[in-house]
Amino acid sequence: MDLFTAMDISASGLTAQRTRMNVISSNIANAHTTRTKEGGPYKRRDVILREKTFEDQLSSVDVEAITPNPTPGERIYDPSNPDADGSGYVTMPNVNLMEEMVNMMNASRAFEANTIAVKAQKDMALKALEIGR
């Protein structure tokens, strides 16, 4: 039990939020991708976070999985698109830009909160080093 444990916990939060940011970025970048390796349009990815308990009650956070979201994407009428089906409709990725922006803001704020916690722990450790000077 020391301040480094607290820093490790905050670092796990930073990692989790950075992973979310990466996934959100790839969702936004692929908002109009209609061809993927698996075939069909791009599927939005979701990050699943899980609490990782240690030392009785303390818990850091862990990225459990990054899963493709199965909801069907919007179908738009665009007969000139090479990926259009027989009736001229193209299935777009199920990415909602508005939703991704909100998630991005959320992840960014949570990341900031963790950096503030790290700074607080660092300041506390430095203060403790001053004792007895």
Binding site: S59, A110, A113, A120, Q121
Partner: protein
Amino acid sequence: MANIFGKIISEVTDQMNYRTYRQEVISSNIANVDTPGYKAKEALFESELDSNLKLATTNPQHMKKSSTENMYKTVDDPFSRIGNDSNTVDIDREMMKLNENQLLYTSSAEILQTKIEELKNTIGGIM
């Protein structure tokens, strides 16, 4: 127990250990701000629990709590609110607790520093 360090230094040290532990608990809450189903935790100092949870010792042979173990206890934060993903972390409250905890740790460190300064002066004065 009377020694040159007196009572204050050991009390302040306990206080600092508690603050360190509470810092870990607050960090856990902040790290899990987006974890579905996570319950916000709070670390309580034993004296805060005494009023409710103290074992009655009516006979001198009754078990007493050891002074070093179980100084503090972690419980689900009683003032937390529940979100729509059943996560009970209130980030504003956690940031406030973080600052409060840091300030109180710093002031404990300051007290300890002053005490040690006094001791140094006393020892230096005798020589």
